[in-house]
Symmetry: C2
Subunit: 218 residues, 2 copies
Amino acid sequence: MTRVRVDLNISLDGYASTVGDGPHDPFGEDWARLTAAYVGTRTFRERVLGKADGSGTTGVDDNYAAQYFEGVGAEVMGAGMFGLTDHRDDPDWRGWWGDTPPFGFTVYVLTHSEREPLEFANGTRFEFLNASPEEALLLARESAGGADVRIGGGPTTVRHYLRAGLVDSLHVAVVPVVLGRGINLWDDLRGLESGYRVTAESADSGVTHFTFEREDGS
Amino acid sequence: MTRVRVDLNISLDGYASTVGDGPHDPFGEDWARLTAAYVGTRTFRERVLGKADGSGTTGVDDNYAAQYFEGVGAEVMGAGMFGLTDHRDDPDWRGWWGDTPPFGFTVYVLTHSEREPLEFANGTRFEFLNASPEEALLLARESAGGADVRIGGGPTTVRHYLRAGLVDSLHVAVVPVVLGRGINLWDDLRGLESGYRVTAESADSGVTHFTFEREDGS
């Protein structure tokens, strides 16, 4: 059965986004600190960077990185995550991921601007929707064909689905830094844990992986 | 060498205090959820409740509970933690802890009201100081005689010492609930991790223990 899944790296104080210095540095120096353990994993190096050379960490962080890529059949992401905040007026913008975006399925991008779909040789297809998050999720469920749907981000998009009670599985990697600015995942989510089984597992990196799994299995 | 130590239970979203319904319920229903794993430990039952019957959990949560009581020679706490927010006008108020407060050393209570010191048979002594946190810490260091000084709380007092860079060891037990209200430990502490070695350890309870230890060992 399709589950709706979210994975995020957040700081100890809950920040899931970082503040940069404009279009040439949209995420800022904090982004590297927030994602260091994840981008250091063998899975990230293989699946995102295409480096199948056996480099990268194995262990707890890598196990969660591998789960991120397993069983997903479609994704929904916000316009900012695709890059439209900074590249709205660039009709040739094709996302951050180069010629082989690490998806291999249809990604629905929520936006109010009109864009033609983009196709890549590895099966990744970006469709741009002027639709509500709920409508986009229905399309993604259909497209996933029984596999899982991932809400890719950014945090504002994720928070919408969490508040609406539409997420079945939430994995947050809590990185032991205090950022103090950005978008806070937890704002206005009091009682989120209700209805979920919550587990925690720490890695040697100092990152702790919290997982919220819907108890009814739906 | 004396270290200045802090131990707190906080929610996933960083709240170290809970909101109650007035003097008869100063902490509210969230307090029990925030402290459930800690008060369930064998150490808490022995050291705070005086129940040396072998009941209570052992394991990761209990290991940290035991460390809380080890090697401390003096404490500083805020007026609210002693109960003066609700009992300021009660000259007979002797704290929350009954006849055997679980200290056994001098506790310096920061307050602007005049109170005579309180002595207990188990060696606990409360002294009430109209002084700055820094002055109180100097007195506590002297009183500790080479043992550690604990900043007992509440979170506002703890945050003052953290912002001033006066804490050598911070242990936070992150409880997997989202509270959304209270006093947030992390506010205005961007970059706190700098100069500390940060480690994390998860318990089966779902609680994760983050420890910040000053790297220079001072």
